[in-house]
Symmetry: C2
Subunit: 408 residues, 2 copies
């Protein structure tokens, strides 16, 4: 083990792809990779106790969102509590993201279909596009509700909760993440809209690189944090392979403990983009794919060199009654394939079969008819059980991918 | 053990009161009494998995509501699933109530402050009282939305969910409870309003006694159910001690496996009412106090001869952020006394102390500041944790009462 708080060991590499199995060592325990990290936006994996994470989900780590915790309850309160692990009783490795994605997606109009633009998000966005206005400019901000204004130093944005005005700089994002105290923190980055043009993608990427350098400096300036937290840089560049490659090259030169890969992809080019990036990133450092984690994405991510994943889908779809179930057919790895099933459908009212044919501990204990009843009756236990089943499904699937690599 | 599905053994009796400790044997396990039974109205203890009941709550049994399950998902579906234990994964002793209380409290305007009377519950209730109209009469029903009509044979009522019309008779209530399949079922009874006059209380009680006899007959008519389910009679009589005594005498003559004590009490006369009843009820059968279970009520109930209790308060107040905490002072039994604390109060935002000074396993894991945050952020985990803490508090308190009796 390294003397740094975060270190990575490769256990096995696949001969004909970038896939590898390894271990990330953190001050709160190891993460065996490839691994799916559960998302706990506001320091809670929605509806899931820590006890149930250990028993029914099997996740090795959890990721909280800096933007959300900064606004509520406030990072100062989490610091007072002794950090995220103590505050949320998360006795496992933890991550925080940089806050960048949420500042832009919740504060402004853009990002992966999340649109909240003042009182009239869609209109503002369309208008901006028609006008050829860079939506991150001050002009647009003042025209459309001043929600997200970028300058070289940082970003000024308004809270999605109460509209109050705040400012993140790389230094401030890192300071907040120091207060929150996760094992792995992330350099402040600009997450661009998929609709932004090449020139803007490049401009934003270059800024993200300057912010990456400032983030590292800010991290190194806090000796206490440096002893117990590691920092990842964020590769950006949108859908442009040359920008992705450039981003990977520039960040490789910086002394990060690992790398996160952010921004937008299409399902089709995901694998290729990741390959370009991960062939450049240093092999001996862990790589996290931000916000992506459907089963088919995990295969593409792993084969192209990613080690960890996070995604809100398992809990988001679970809360409204949709679960992952195995189709019974295997993919080319001999691993299960999945389909989504909406338990609200009336046909499940009398379906007394267990949730899934998998070994999901929740799925084996409860039936479709019972969950159908819980969702129809608006009982909290429905979202809880469906979320746990879905999380287990993805966590376990990623763990099976790991086993395949180790056995290959 | 008796050859009957439900039997009761007394382990110890207090010399100077009706208090006793014992064991109720059921086909799904024993209940060591005095015991607090958690309420799971719709076959779910709101927000609490079975696993967490075992680990963090410690309840030995759970009680579901016949009225609710009849309407949703339907007792036929629970029967198809193999009964309540399988449907809800409740691998522990279970109760269902008779449906009587809900028929009257949700179907009509009355009962312990629960008022749902068509579109205008309060108005209808007040009007009825001013007019001196018996709210259970057909006249009122037709005037105010035909929600609950009693006749000698049974009760016709409308669903609180969709207004559809249904009819319970003693035979039908028992049939539904056979379908649901709890270990302990309850004879169909009429739960009167606390405002009803003496004559009406007596009339309703007499009817309840006739329904009790019919309930037993219906139960004995189902040989399969008789082998695996026990039946309790319900003592009624409102706040009139002579009626309570009469009800206990009449029901003692019937071959019930145990007794439930229902209807209305005032906090002041609770102990005296129970004493009158339990001095008459056969000593060798278990007694359940329906719907009452604040800590001070439990002491009054136990000292006056009750063995088991249920109450929605721990989960109901927990869901909105109120928890039981120990005051630090002991009562005359040397047991803790409690106060309710509303975690939504802003002062808890920075209170990093654990939920309570008790040994509550949830209380020891989580802080007031964390739960304050969860409630403020409207996160499901808040209601879950507060409910479990409250349930443990009452379950454990009742168990401590049991220990005091055994040590006395």
């Amino acid at each position: 083990m390294s003397s740094k708080p975060i270190s990575f060991e490769i256990e096995k590499k696949l001969p004909d792809s970038l896939g590898r199995a390894g271990v990330i060592h953190t001050p709160h325990g190891d993460i065996q990779t490839p691994a799916f990290i559960t998302v706990g936006t506001k320091a809670t994996v929605k509806g899931v106790t820590v006890d149930h994470m250990k028993k029914f989900v099997g996740n090795q780590a959890a990721l909280a969102n800096t933007y959300h915790l900064f606004l509520q309850p406030g990072s100062d309160i989490i610091k007072e509590a002794g950090g995220l692990h103590k505050f949320a009783n998360w006795n496992m490795p933890t991550f925080t993201d940089s806050g960048g994605f949420q500042v832009f997606s919740l504060g402004a109009a853009f990002g992966k279909g999340v649109t909240k633009f003042a009182q009239d998000a869609e209109g503002a966005t369309k208008q901006a596009e028609q006008d050829g206005i860079n939506v991150y400019s001050k002009e647009l901000a003042s025209q459309h509700g001043k929600l997200c204004v970028i300058d070289e130093e940082g970003v000024t944005f308004t809270s999605h909760i109460d509209g109050s005005m705040h400012r993140f700089t790389p230094e401030r994002s890192i300071e907040i993440q120091h207060d929150i105290g996760a094992d792995i923190i992330v350099a402040f980055d600009e997450c661009t809209s998929p609709t932004a043009d090449y020139d803007y993608q490049k401009e934003a990427m270059d800024r993200t690189h300057r912010w990456a350098k400032r983030s590292i400096m800010a991290h190194k300036g806090n000796y206490e944090a440096l002893k117990k937290q590691g920092i990842y840089g964020v590769v950006q560049g949108g859908r442009h392979l040359d920008l992705r490659a450039e981003s990977a090259r520039v960040l490789t030169e910086m002394d990060f403990d690992g790398y996160a890969i952010g921004g937008s992809f299409s399902k089709e080019d995901l694998g290729e983009s990741l390959k370009v990036v991960n062939e450049i990133l240093p092999e001996n450092k862990p790589r996290h794919l931000l916000g992506i984690g459907e089963p088919e994405d995990i295969i593409a991510g792993v084969l192209n060199g990613c080690d960890t994943f996070d995604c809100v889908a398992p809990t988001r779809i679970g809360r409204t009654g949709t679960i992952y179930t195995q189709t019974g057919e295997l993919n080319e790895w001999g691993l299960p394939t999945f389909k989504k099933v909406n338990l609200n459908n009336a046909k499940f009212g009398r379906d007394h079969s267990q949730l899934d044919i998998s070994e999901s501990p929740i799925g084996q204990q409860y039936t479709k008819a019972y969950l159908h009843h819980l969702f129809k009756a608006k009982e909290m236990l429905g979202p809880q059980l469906a979320s746990m089943h879905n999380l287990w499904t993805i966590v376990n699937y990623t763990h099976q991918v790991r086993k395949k690599i180790l056995e290959a």
